[in-house]
């Protein structure tokens, strides 16, 4: 049942992780775009680079040992106290929060804009992390909840003239309810079948939004949505919106952390690891899967409302299947079931495509091959969650 055998010793692993194979693989990927010559050059460069990287890794390994011996020796002689790791991590956290909080003062609008978008995606990805990461239910139509959240705020605001704070609880409640409604038929299914049903749900929502002209204005989308108000002040400036988003991100991370460390979180993890064992020790698997779906949908709905308020415009184009895949990538990249990991994953997957704009045509290719490389070298994601077992 448990394959605890070290995979790194198998001949297949040694072959697929050799610099030769990695370089060949990527060169073949680029072959159709740049022709044989360029692919050949790429192969040689990559081969040399990966080989050097491997050697460097070994060198660093030995140097680390030497260095720590040296440090011990020095410490023994001089009795100087190095700051302890705890204070160092506090200092690092402080530094990071200063960098994050001061962003509107040094960053230009483009950067702040991306940061705001990252914030919205962090909330969205945390929602999916609950469903996929903690409970282990593959949801490929998660963007549907995001869409319902965004459209409910858009419609409540433009049709009924309700403000942000009045629509927020209503919209989020509506999304949570739709999470329950999807979960009831979907939870009779498992694994691949569940994935297909959620995929279908995502498409249904998008198609309804796209075709219900009289209500949602179809593909034209809904414009003129009001940005949120605080004490009569409209938050329309980018810098202000940035802080507004940060508050919600902190709230989401805090609440999800608390919930995942609670009895409910334990039950989710147990269900992910082994459903039959969970029900045989007295966990109500149906109920907890339902909560997981609804709780995940809740955050997606919040992200949707924020998205609509930020863009002041929604259209079905923003809620395609690719969006679901992107959010799933954030969760997997960051590490299933790891809250800081998913924050990191969301930031990387929003930032990276923007940074890669310079290579234009190869942007998606570079991103894709980067993801594949990550899955080869770190299948558990950047920060693998606690207690996640990998099958296969």
């Amino acid at each position: 049942m448990n394959k605890a055998v070290s995979k790194t010793d198998s001949p297949i692993h040694r072959f697929t992780h050799s610099p030769f194979f990695i370089a060949l693989w990527l060169a073949l990927l680029f072959l159709p775009f740049k022709g044989l010559k360029a692919a050949g050059i790429l192969f040689i460069v990559l081969f040399a680079a990966v080989s050097m990287l491997n050697m460097f890794k070994k060198y660093v390994g030995t140097m680390k040992g030497v260095f720590s011996d040296f440090k011990q020796y020095l410490l023994g002689r001089s009795r100087i106290k190095l700051p302890e790791s705890k204070t160092r991590s506090i200092a690092l956290t402080l530094l990071m929060s200063v960098v994050v909080m001061a962003l509107p003062f040094y960053g230009h609008d483009y950067l702040i804009d991306i940061a705001v978008l990252s914030g919205i995606y962090i909330i969205l990805a945390q929602g999916l992390n609950i469903v996929v990461g903690f409970t282990g239910l593959l949801n490929l139509g998660f963007v549907a909840f995001y869409a319902i959240g965004a459209y409910s705020y858009a419609l409540l605001n433009t049709k009924l003239g309700m403000g942000f704070w009045a629509s927020l609880p209503l919209s989020v409640m509506l999304v949570t309810l739709s999470g329950f409604i999807l979960a009831i038929p979907a939870l009779r299914l498992r694994g691949d079948y569940l994935a297909i049903v959620t995929l279908g749900f995502g498409e249904i929502v998008r198609l309804v939004l796209n075709n219900w002209d009289s209500f949602t204005k179809g593909p034209n989308g809904i414009g003129g949505i009001e940005p949120p108000n605080i004490f009569g002040m409209q938050i329309s400036k980018l810098g202000h919106f940035y802080y507004f988003i940060i508050i919600f991100v902190l709230l989401a991370v805090f609440i999800i952390r608390r919930v995942s460390a609670s009895r409910i979180g334990r039950a989710w993890i147990a269900i992910r690891e082994d459903e039959i064992a969970s029900s045989s020790i007295g966990i109500n698997t149906t109920a907890y899967k339902l909560y997981s779906f609804a709780f995940g949908a809740f955050w997606a709905g919040l992200a949707g409302v924020l998205f609509a308020a930020k863009m002041q415009f929604v259209s079905p184009e923003s809620f395609t299947f690719m969006e679901s895949v992107l959010v799933l990538c954030m969760v997997i990249l960051g590490g299933l079931g790891s809250i800081p990991g998913v924050v990191l994953g969301a930031i990387i997957l929003v930032m990276l495509p923007e940074m890669l704009r310079e290579v234009q045509l190869y942007r998606m290719l570079a991103l894709g091959s980067g993801l594949v490389m990550l899955m080869i070298f770190r299948p558990q994601g950047l920060m693998g969650g606690k207690g996640v077992s990998f099958r296969g």
Binding site: M1, A4, R266, A270, A277, S280
Partner: protein, 234 residues
């Protein structure tokens, strides 16, 4: 204590249990033996609610549990050690035990029960902080049994505890089963290892093709010509 009355279950169109009627009294060790596919594990799954019977009734201490979901059945006091152990490989031994007490979260005797589990299998105490998946097969079985005991059951269902274990470990586990029984837990044991199981049990049922072929005292079944020929390889 537990009564099954004409239980029938289906896997798709296939009738796995064709009317099982059995009875377990308080404090007994009862074993179910039979060939592969006879319906032994299915019977346990029907009792613990993982598989819903299509017909028949199951009653436990006077109340009908045939329509209850598995978690309520655990709360009633029936704990199931599933076939193949099914411990949580990526949780530590301690966490495995803690989650075993999931249905008893309002009970403050969790610590006492954990100490009892460690008394029963001291090796688990040594491995307390190790991940479940790194234990040996025998230790995993011990962990699975202890985890089931964490919910303080009145009736323990054991599905092939000797599966794939060395004879010395099997005898250790069987001794533990007797100890658990002495503490007042009624036990329903499913086994391929018919000889050892019948020796341990006060009564036994022999299953064949989803029906009960015969039943009687453990010793009588051990000496029965039919059982000897079919299951004991004599």
């Amino acid at each position: 204590m537990l009564e099954l009355n004409d239980i029938r279950t289906f896997y798709g169109p296939i009738e796995a249990l064709k009317g099982i009627t059995l009875k377990i009294n308080q404090g007994e060790i009862v074993c179910l033996i039979g060939n592969n596919g006879a319906g032994k594990s299915t019977t346990l799954m029907a009792i613990s609610g993982i598989l819903k019977p299509k017909a028949g009734t199951i009653s436990f201490i006077g109340s009908d549990i045939s329509d209850m979901p598995p978690h309520s059945i655990v709360e009633m006091g029936i704990s199931h050690v599933p076939e193949g152990r099914r411990i949580f490989p990526k949780l530590t031994v301690k966490e495995n035990l803690e989650i075993g007490a999931y249905s008893r979260h309002r009970d403050h005797r969790l610590k006492a029960r954990m100490i009892k589990a460690y008394d029963l299998f001291p090796v688990l105490k040594e491995r307390e902080k190790q991940l479940g998946g790194t234990l040996s097969g025998g230790e995993q079985q011990m962990l699975a049994i202890s985890r089931a005991l964490m919910s303080d059951p009145k009736l323990l269902l054991l599905d092939e505890p000797s599966l794939g274990l060395a004879p010395i470990i099997v005898s250790r586990i069987f001794k533990a089963i007797q100890e658990i029984n002495k503490e007042g837990v009624t036990i329903l044991l499913v086994e391929q290892n018919a000889h050892a199981a019948l020796n341990l049990s006060s009564r036994g049922y022999v299953l064949e093709n989803g029906r009960i072929r015969m039943h009687g005292q453990g010793k009588d079944l051990l000496n029965s010509e039919e059982v000897k020929k079919a299951y004991l390889g004599e």
